[in-house]
Amino acid sequence: MFDVSPLWVSLRASLLATAIEFVAGLLCAHKAMGLTGKRAWLLDTILTLPMVLPPTVTGFFLLVLFGRNGPIGKLTGTTVIFSWQATVLSATVVAFPLMYRAAKGAMKQVDPDHIWAARTLGFSERRILWKILVPEAWPGIAAGAALAFARSLGEFGATMMVAGNIPGRTQTIPMAIYFSTVGGDMRTAWIWVGVITLVSAASLALMSRLSKGDA
């Protein structure tokens, strides 16, 4: 009997990760827009780092932070390492920069006079984000979300470090591909390669369709 659980583990991880990245990416991009000089550079560097670091390094940092003896593990008295939540955590952190950078780039294109006009009309900064920036930068933001989803779905290195390969719990599609290939089960590997290629291509098609809106 063919085990389809990697599909559900992967979808759960990447959908939840995309939802978290979406909100956090917008808030961080908005925050970054208001900063200048060294602070802007520092925030930008920290938030983009997971995009350029090897995923195993990102995974290593997550292990150190969230492990039972890490600062967050000690604080909460529990650990998410090797649980299904760890698949969400690694996918979120690795794909976050894609959402953040796309959102920031798109929001910077919004006419500054629209933002100033909103302020003269009494808008708070939070209201400017949701009522002016997000709708006007929507094509770029949506494209960023699609890209982040595809990246979350393909996440392997950091997930391997913090979630492991527990069938039915933390075994995602990329994990299933790796271990069936190593184990010589090429049929299973082929099936998952096909599935992930299809879903990733569909996300990219969705992305290019959404980006057309700003032409």
Binding site: H114, R119, L121, G122, W138
Partner: protein
């Protein structure tokens, strides 16, 4: 009394702006000058978009900026209406939503009623369901005026309101603008490079040359 008292100095790049003037309640003061002389900069400074190095800006008892007292209200607390040269309508909102969004009333029904009133005043109520990009320049201008009025500002500032309009649209705006200026009871600042426009709409005129204000002998 809701008069406007402005006195400030600032340097933007190599340009130095040093202005001082007073606008009485119900007075329409024209600021006349060629582009690059500091007219728009003056309006943006009063609105709070640019912070001057020193000086003070107040409307009636309401101090917007005072370098000595360390007061510098954020833009959203200044309650000034600024008509941008580009109108700055929000493209993702309908005409009605654009006008409603600046009204502070908590009741949605009341907000809608006030917005419709202002759109009617500008003769553009029939377009309330449209998006800004579906309107002509003159129509967009009228929506921007309605939006500014609906937010009930203490001060109106018009930045070259005719600069982007063709002849026909100018005539279309003319009657509405005249009515608006007559109805508004607070001070009004009208910025233009065209002496003809300034004479037509303003009760008094100052000219700005290279960042400094000069009196004009065109009191009416």
């Amino acid at each position: 009394m809701n008069d406007l008292e402005v006195r400030f100095a600032e340097t933007v790049g190599t340009f130095h702006l040093d202005v001082s003037f007073h606008v009485g309640e119900g007075e329409v003061l024209g600021l006349l000058g060629r582009s690059g002389n500091g007219k728009s900069l003056t309006l943006r400074t009063i609105a709070g978009i640019i912070t001057p190095e020193e000086g003070s800006i107040r409307i009636g008892e309401h101090v917007l900026f005072d370098s000595q007292a360390g007061v510098n209200l954020p833009v959203r607390e200044r309650n000034v209406g600024l008509l941008f040269q580009s109108y700055a309508l929000f493209p993702a909102m309908t005409v009605l939503e654009n006008v409603m969004c600046g009204i502070k009333d908590r009741d949605k029904h009341a907000r809608k009623q006030q917005a419709v009133d202002k759109l009617s005043l500008m003769g553009i109520d029939a377009y309330r369901g449209r998006l800004p990009r579906e309107l002509s320049g003159g129509q967009q201008q009228r929506v921007a005026l309605a939006r500014m009025l609906a937010s009930q500002p203490d001060l109106l500032m018009l930045d070259e309101p005719f600069s982007a309009l063709d002849h026909e649209s100018k005539q279309e705006i003319d009657q509405h603008l005249n009515g608006l200026l007559r109805h508004f009871t607070g001070p009004v600042l009208f910025v233009s490079h065209d002496p003809e426009e300034v004479r037509r709409y303003c009760t008094r005129t100052l000219s700005i040359v290279e960042g400094r204000v000069h009196q004009e002998n065109s009191e009416r």
